[in-house]
Symmetry: C2
Subunit: 496 residues, 2 copies
């Protein structure tokens, strides 16, 4: 990868003969027409590897389509390895072989971790940093956590007090790398209710799902390897995987799970090592996987040798498959090809930093060794707190309260979103997130919002390529302040 | 790197003309004579790259020297990149260029993390795993921690109770990636006493020094890069660095610090990215760096562009430079080229998992971003406990008690070691470790000891190449059980 300017294609694409012949009457979407045509030109070597594509604006103007159509098309071309996005420099025709040169992924990782502004998108690290600097007067309607008063602070404090009264030598020695055994026994029961059979030896506790993802990615990927994620998906892992030199490719997420045709096509192209997926209450859409898609995913994983990482962090916000359909990949596969991740940051307390991995016995042992090399052990304190709350049966009532509170707010909040001009095409019957469409670049909205002490979660954050988007994540539990609605109404009126 | 058998050199070295001409009368040690002669033969292409060296036993027999002389010589030749040690297969002449092919380090890392038995050494991962499975009836005279009753369990429990009584919402949200601010302010004072100036923004808390080392290594190294460590040194980091694909090279540690001539020579050969060193109370010898050597290290680091990682985990077991000489690299360099690591696992409680990094403001910010991608944040609980104990002034008295208790035991315990037949050439006036010489392969002793429920810490553990050694680490605080002495006496008598 070089930083010297590559010959621009703009001029040639501006010549009438070079403009793509797009048809609004065709049964094929404009996006797919662009993808097909550009891909064919690259395959036919009419577009040279290394050449720069026209900017999104230029391409849109030249072809009489919206910028969002171009963004979506470029995004698909990136996922199909026809284009690459170079941070700050635009889109370039990619060398077709070899795929995933380690150097490229590595260089991107460096930019990422240094917080360099990605081309056209928000700076993810910068935005996340800000989330941790949240002050009382910063409203965060797109936050990934519940408001403090929805959680049970006193229960945590009581558990902590009880632990401080136990044998005072509890904390003097290192724990065991696998984690506090009684907690792992509780997790065995928790997973059994989800029809996943696992012995305590199959669990390794982690400092939240974040560390779990980092550990699994380090176990399975080498620089240059590909990891599949949902598109959209939780942004922090893009940076975490990029820092390992892995290439992150997004699989478009529909209302009932991934686009299976694209998953099949991209799996054949990229041969990914891992596929990280929220099967239940996907972040940021709160939708869940259908049983049929779960089965298809596992078949494709089998066929292409992909290890599935099922991130089930929002598990307890779902009322259970008896109430609403929800299929977990691990329930079908029983931890053979699926690694199951969970945690208590969303429904108990983020600061306890308690997450876990459930895996095959052999893999769990390897991951425990890896954890030992990375951090020796996790502290028992948080694990003892979680154990105490789970074992005393307080937790079940607590998460029921959270779910019914969300149920009480959801429909009303979505109606209010629609009144101010947001489009909501899918409303999940559970979970806290709404993946709303603002009909304009939400990066621009986010900049405006910041000047009014509002921190939004724009769609670009959730895009594996940080591409601009008209979507944004909203949290129905965090939209009770009128200032949020005043801002949204004003901003969306200005655009209408 | 290939696993197919390479032509053996044994036969040619067995031919009289090929036997090295070693002289006991020469001013040069036998080890250095072997190193010089073998290196010259490789330089002169008399020994081919890829060929297998004779086994240690064969070489010793052919040249009439002890196995330990050969081990030490091979070890130096590995450090100088003349030989490489292939786990389970022996020593091989290395390709002289390019140094540090990424594939090699990676393959070694895989073996390491999978717990494969290294050639001739103990399985480090296996031994460490056992340390965490320590039961009441397993004696560990070489342990790296103080016995429980030396630590202040009630103080930890009190601090935990006090935290549980504070605002019950304390733990509901994520903390900040840099760590709990009041603790970082306390750390500022702690470092000021060591003449290291650092603002709270220059600290990042970690889950122990283990995570600190992992984070720093991930920030500075790419697969194939070289990291220098003391030889001997703390074993866990060898595995941690190898898992990152880094090549670990040991710098021989003398009573007053590293062998500077070798450091200079090896720095020129390897161009290492990092040099991890215990300047004060080196593990496993408890010796400290002289001021002159500290200055020379920094000059060499400057000259070769090496970043120094000063692991000062045993800091509080030292009475201070006013009482005993101790020079910290960070006190000279003021966190420009030196990254300072510390923690509270040894003197407060390992299970709190509280360590920290102090670095330049720019690097501290990058490391906080990296921590965010790896684990989001560390839990505030342990950090609040440490803060409370530090800020209430309980800690100073506590570590004074530990030091005077160690002082009371040290001379007596060393005399007892000598009585049972151990050789102790350097006795540090502070710290808990003695790096004793058993005059026999301590791997073999460790195997015997295990059958009697004793877990030793053999020298091979502390060798960057896991080479067998006659040394072992003993902890003067953990040798009060007569069973330990009975075993040592019997084992050493058998050999005498």
């Amino acid at each position: 990868m070089t930083d010297t300017p590559a010959p621009s294609l703009t001029s040639s694409l501006h010549r009438p003969g070079q403009i793509l012949l797009l048809s609004r009457a065709s049964g094929e979407s404009l996006i797919d027409q662009i993808v097909r045509t550009v891909a064919a030109r690259i395959d036919d070597r009419l577009l040279r590897a290394g050449a720069r594509m026209p900017s999104i604006r230029q391409f849109a103007a030249a072809n009489g389509v919206s910028a969002f159509t171009v963004v979506a098309a470029y995004d698909k071309l990136v996922a199909r390895a026809y284009l690459e996005s170079r941070r700050g420099a635009g889109f370039f025709i990619r060398e077709r072989a070899p795929l995933n040169a380690p150097g490229t992924a590595d260089a991107e990782a460096m930019n990422f971790s240094a917080g360099v502004q990605p081309g056209g998108g928000m700076d993810v690290v910068w935005l996340i940093r800000n989330m941790f600097r949240a002050t009382a007067n910063l409203q965060m309607p797109g936050t990934g956590v519940l408001p403090q008063d929805w959680l049970d602070g006193p229960a945590i404090a009581n558990a902590l007090r009880a632990i401080s009264r136990q044998n005072s030598n509890l904390l003097l020695n290192y724990g065991v790398p696998q984690g506090f055994l009684p907690l792992r026994q509780q997790l065995q029961h928790k997973l059994a209710e989800l029809e996943i059979a696992a012995t305590p030896e199959q669990f390794v506790t982690t400092s939240g799902v974040t560390q779990a993802l980092d550990m699994v990615a380090r176990e399975f990927t080498r620089p240059g390897d590909t990891v599949f994620v949902d598109d959209p998906a939780w942004f922090l892992m893009f940076g975490s995987f990029a820092a390992l030199g892995a290439k992150v490719v997004g699989i478009p997420r529909l209302a009932d799970g991934p686009d299976i045709a694209q998953l099949a096509e991209l799996a054949a192209i990229h041969k990914p090592k891992l596929y990280v997926i929220n099967s239940v209450l996907h972040n940021p859409s709160s939708t869940s996987l259908s049983a049929a898609k779960a089965f298809q995913i596992l078949r494709l994983a089998e066929q292409h040798g992909i290890t599935i990482v099922e991130d089930d962090i929002y598990c307890d916000m779902h009322p259970g498959s008896a109430v609403q359909p929800a299929t977990r990949l691990a329930s079908l596969d029983q931890l053979r090809r699926v690694i199951y991740l969970g945690g208590f940051s969303k429904t108990m307390a983020a600061n306890l930093r308690v997450g876990f991995i459930a895996a095959s016995p052999e893999l769990a042992e390897r991951l425990a060794d890896r954890k030992m090399l990375q951090t020796l052990t996790t502290s028992d304190i948080g694990e003892r707190v979680v154990y105490k709350i789970l074992s005393e049966g307080l937790y079940r009532k607590h998460v029921e309260r959270i779910r019914s509170r969300l149920d009480g707010l959801r429909a009303r909040t979505v109606r209010q979103m629609e009144r101010v001009g947001l489009k909501v095409d899918v409303v999940s019957p559970a979970g806290m997130f709404v993946w709303a469409d603002a009909g304009c670049d939400t990066n621009v909205m986010t900049e405006h919002a910041l000047s009014e002490n509002l921190l939004l979660a724009p769609g670009s954050l959730f895009s594996p390529n940080q591409l601009p988007s008209s979507r944004m994540r909203l949290n129905v539990a965090a939209m009770q302040d009128p200032a949020v609605w005043r801002f949204l109404q004003r901003e969306l009126e200005r655009l209408a």
